[in-house]
């Protein structure tokens, strides 16, 4: 499959990345190389095989839905670039 410039821009937008001009070219060619190689999965003998999503067979691991208080709130919020009154602060989203 050929990767177009438009596709790279579309994918970057989905991934919330802003690419500079030389990055667009570089990633377009990198992605093409990797996909050309990765295409080998389409030749693998996998007819009628189920998909595997995890490395062990466990599913639906339940636990009680209990509130546990995380005590180090200051330590957690200290990592935010901006905070106010124990909340993460972001610019206004509604005008």
């Amino acid at each position: 499959m050929k990767v177009s410039r438009e596709e790279i821009l579309h994918i970057a937008n989905l991934a919330q990345l802003e690419l500079e001009e030389q990055e667009i070219e570089k990633y377009q060619s990198n992605l093409q190389d990797i996909l050309d190689f990765a295409n080998i999965v389409n030749n693998a003998p996998v007819e009628n095989l189920d998909i595997t999503i995890g490395a062990n067979e466990m599913k639906n691991v339940f636990r009680k839905d209990e509130v546990k208080i995380f005590k180090n709130i200051d330590g957690l919020l200290k990592n935010a670039p901006e905070q106010e009154q124990h909340m993460f602060k972001i610019p206004k989203v509604l005008n």
Partner: protein, 482 residues
């Protein structure tokens, strides 16, 4: 012998006989760090001052109290920077401890520092660290491997007696191989991933770097165990892995998959492995060659699945919660985009783009779904192999440590270096790398021993028997060659 050359089980012996104190041990390691760090560049955050203070207060408990350790910088340590070697987390101070760190701390071990890695554990040379390039202690012009290159180099250079790392596609085993130390990736689910910054959640696993196999079993005893905070962790009961350390491998059935010794494998690496297999035969193991034709499919599958999971996991770095925010952003959308574009390095962005692509509508079936089917194929092939064999032996890496700069501009070539290790993560198996010789340039060659799920005992036994027979550490030492 220098204190820093001793293994942990030897240190324990000397603490017991009162030949050494905890303070003396830590002082020796800190001196060694101060002496060698300029050459090796293994540390992102040194904790030597705090370490010495703790060492003065720590009393020996007959076990591991006071033993120093180094930690890969993607494992959360309360109150200490955890950067993932990324500009994005340059100033991130974890507000809690990972479960493995709680376990280390409850033993009274002393963390001497956070170790360098490829950014977010993406890479095979530690050259993709935002902060520094770690050097291979055997030859300073070469890479230590990656992504846990700082952990491997620090142990090889005797700057810490052992270290923790993480392994998503070979990130413990390959650097262990390049640096001539022992590296274990446990079975998926044996060790809690809680507090480990997620790269690819269905593949990531915490493991160990040690000087020998006995230390590996000792450290595995500490970190293994079910954790309610990691629902993928598994209860296997209380095991003492040191009981697996036996020299007798008579009758042990070893499978040798011929595809792992073919095209792309360096000739000297291959010869080294063939000698090791011959040695096993002399020791009474039963060797059989067989076909395991999955390596290429597994590598492609690995990059599809790992990048898909990474693109999702790294979505949390939004410029709002985790320290880095672009100064050029005004709107919320700009905060997301500009912070991520400035905060992530080139390799991380490359993988996010690949992962987003294979998950996007139109390509999901052709790549991601297909890769998940290949994952089943890989698991089936291994299951079949383990009906016949106790362990499987392959090279850990197709080459010895390569030169700094040799592959860093060619992503595909860097990815091919993972060809021997990724299938183990795809199938969730345990794998250990131990040194099995040196090439004509004096660089260590690693042997990978793979076991069935939760059969760490078998690979530890096979590794221990070989190590005791061949005594690599007595014959070869890193020379810090310029």
């Amino acid at each position: 012998m220098e204190i820093t050359e001793l293994t942990v089980h030897e240190l324990k012996e000397k603490l017991k006989n009162k030949e050494l104190t905890i303070e003396k041990i830590n002082k020796a390691y800190i001196d060694r760090i101060n002496e060698k760090e300029e050459d090796v560049q293994a540390f992102i955050t040194k904790l030597t001052e705090q370490g010495l203070e703790s060492a003065k207060k720590q009393e020996w408990n007959g076990e591991l109290a006071g033993i120093p350790i180094g930690i890969k910088d993607n494992i959360c340590t309360n109150g200490i920077k955890t950067t993932c070697a990324s500009k994005m987390l340059e100033n991130f101070v974890s507000p809690y401890d990972a479960t493995v760190i709680e376990k280390i701390n409850s033993q009274g071990m002393i963390n001497l520092g956070k170790l360098n890695m490829d950014e977010f554990a993406m890479g095979g040379s530690t050259e993709y660290s935002y902060f520094k390039k770690t050097k291979n202690p055997w030859d300073l012009s070469r890479v230590p491997g990656g992504s846990s290159g700082g952990s491997a180099a620090a142990v090889a250079a005797n700057m810490v007696p052992w270290a923790l790392g993480t392994d998503t596609g070979g990130s413990i085993r390959q650097p262990a191989s390049f640096c001539g130390v022992v590296g274990l990736k446990p079975t998926y689910g044996l060790v809690s991933r809680f507090g480990v910054v997620a790269f690819a959640s269905s593949l990531d696993q915490v493991g160990t770097f040690t000087k020998d196999v006995e230390d590996c079993a000792i450290l595995l005893n500490v970190i293994a165990g079910k954790d309610e905070k990691d629902t993928t962790s598994v209860d296997v009961g209380n095991k003492d892995y040191t009981k697996a350390l036996q020299k007798d491998v008579k009758g042990l059935k070893i499978g040798v998959p011929k595809e792992f010794y073919g095209e792309g494998i360096n000739l000297e690496v291959k010869e080294s492995l063939e000698k090791a297999i011959e040695k096993y035969k002399e020791m009474g193991a039963e060797i059989e060659e067989f076909s395991l034709d999955i390596a290429k499919y597994a590598l492609a599958t690995y990059y599809i699945i790992a990048c898909a999971e990474a693109s999702s996991n790294l979505g949390r770095f939004d410029g709002i919660r985790y320290t880095y925010r672009s100064k050029n952003a005004k709107t919320l959308k700009e905060i997301y985009k500009k912070s991520r574009s400035e905060g992530f390095g080139a390799e991380v962005k490359r993988r996010i783009i690949l992962g987003t692509y294979v998950l996007s509508s139109g390509y999901y079936d052709a790549y991601y779904k297909k890769a998940q089917q290949v994952r089943t194929l890989v698991m089936n092939q291994f299951n079949k192999a383990f009906e016949k064999y106790d362990v499987i032996i392959t090279p850990t890496s197709p080459t010895v440590a390569f030169k700094i700069g040799e592959k860093s501009n060619n992503p595909m070539e860097m990815y091919l270096a993972d060809i021997c290790t990724v299938s183990v993560n795809i199938a969730g198996l345990p794998g250990i790398s131990i040194p099995c010789g040196v090439d004509s340039q004096g660089l260590p060659v690693g042997m990978q021993i793979i076991g069935n799920r939760f059969e760490e005992e078998k690979i530890l036994k096979a590794a221990y028997a070989y190590e005791q027979e061949t005594k690599f550490r007595e014959k070869y030492k890193p020379q810090f060659r310029e």
